[in-house]
């Protein structure tokens, strides 16, 4: 996906461009001062990230995290631009019975460990990840401690 490069896109430009290029696949759920909130389909996350990295010059993935909403899981990406200080918050929903999403570790190498962490704590599988292994917890763990089904002492 090539096209014009916007080195320092404003919030308005970002939301217009994403609405334009990814209509039907992603929607802008809100904007704020230096913030753009996007919700995307699972299958278009990778294309969207490639576009955000290559054409909107978002060089840095601040964080990639998982979130267990009980009936489904979420993966939330925070992508930041070093020229304007804008952050795009990209949310995608995964059905509980199919926790797969395309890895973005080849776009932002810094996302590598975030994805490994999300994998070991939530059991979300990032397809195409170079090394999807447990990072913080022992290799022998067979459960995913940050899921809501894993109860701590004192929680019900």
């Amino acid at each position: 996906m090539s096209g014009e490069i916007y080195q320092a896109p404003s919030v308005q430009e970002i939301s217009d461009l994403l609405r334009d290029k990814f209509s039907g696949k992603a929607e802008i759920t809100g904007t704020g001062e230096r913030r753009v909130y996007v919700k995307a389909d699972r299958d278009s996350v990778y294309d969207l990230c490639v576009y955000i990295h290559d054409n909107l010059t978002f060089e840095h993935a601040t964080s990639i995290m998982g979130n267990d909403m009980k009936d489904h899981m979420e993966v939330i990406y925070h992508l930041s631009n070093y020229y304007t200080g804008v952050i795009i918050e990209l949310t995608t929903d995964l059905p509980a019975d199919d926790l797969h999403v395309r890895s973005v570790a080849d776009i932002w190498v810094g996302g590598n460990w975030h994805e490994r962490e999300t994998y070991e704590l939530f059991g979300i599988v990032f397809d195409g990840h170079p090394k999807l292994e447990r990072l913080l917890t022992p290799d022998t763990y067979e459960f995913y401690p940050f899921r809501k089904s894993y109860k701590l002492r004192g929680q019900e």
Partner: protein, 381 residues
Amino acid sequence: MMSRDVIDIKAETSALHTDKMWVIMGPQHPFSHGLWTLKAQLDGEIVTDAEPIIGYLHRGWEKECENRTYPKIIPMADRLCYAASMTYTHLYCMTVEKALGIDIPEKAKYIRIMADEICRIQSHLMWLAAVGTDLGNLTVFLWAMREREFFMDLNVRMCGARMTTNFPRIGGVRNDIDEEFMMFATRCVERFEKAIWDIISMIDDSSIFVSRMKGTGVLTREKCANLGITGPAMRGTGVDFDVRRDDPYDNYDQIDFDVPVLKEGDSYARYRVRIEELFQSCRIIKQTLQKVKAIGKNAPYRLKVPSKVPAGRSFVRMEDPRGESMMYLVSDGSDKPYRLKVRSPIFVNVSAAKPLVLGSRIADVPAIMAMIDMCLGETDR
């Protein structure tokens, strides 16, 4: 279209090829500054492959938070990073305040900024002390620790604790600062601005020190951004970005300071960026003291806040002494967080250990990794 495969720095290769050997450095190793392991593959004395291993200190911080009410997380946030404890507490309080949608009193904002900068100086001095021992100069260690002690005393005067301060609160800070503290803080900062030159000259005038830092651990600007390295290590590589200036939180937009950026991208540039940041922090502290004085003695410094946080999502990022930290809060309307995520700068910086040390000599590895300023409390969470 921006190229995604960034140019690798030409790595030094060994002329005499020997059998490759894995050397395990850590978790108990003088260079590691905490519990982590660097597996390095060596060809002769050139590093040909490396893999960092972390997780020795993982205690499920984020999950623990789901079991506690909001105010009870404040002392836990202190323990994320002991060298600069107030920054994480500050970040946590800001995140909850954003979720509550409240604006805290001006005075509290300035006090927090000042506390942050005191912590930044402490953290950078601790790093300087560690670099001194890594490079074999114990005097730098002793002198940097001595200077740090004065700022520890400031902490004690401010809130009664040296390291885990438990000072910021949701809606403000725990206590006001008094005239006496302001006097001591001004005196301490002015003294420090002179005393730091002793340490700087000790390092910069030593050709051994400089030659071990110059030209090692080189990264390009694009690669550094792509690897997710943040903080002084990033600004020493030519990325001109500081959350305090470019995405300001609290009242940083009211304060005049410079962001040091160097383009060399080696360890020496990272060292110089940190030293310059010490001076900028002194500048910020002096300004905040003036602002607090101007606001007056009886101005409010803390708000009463409800114990339940309305359902929603909020995130705040801040410039930690080590890089860009962020907290993301999912609240569900109860008095406990539904999910609290911490983005730790060192977690990502240490994942870049392989590109940093690749092609360098094994003896340079401690000097290169020292510039990352490891802190395992926040890395493993």
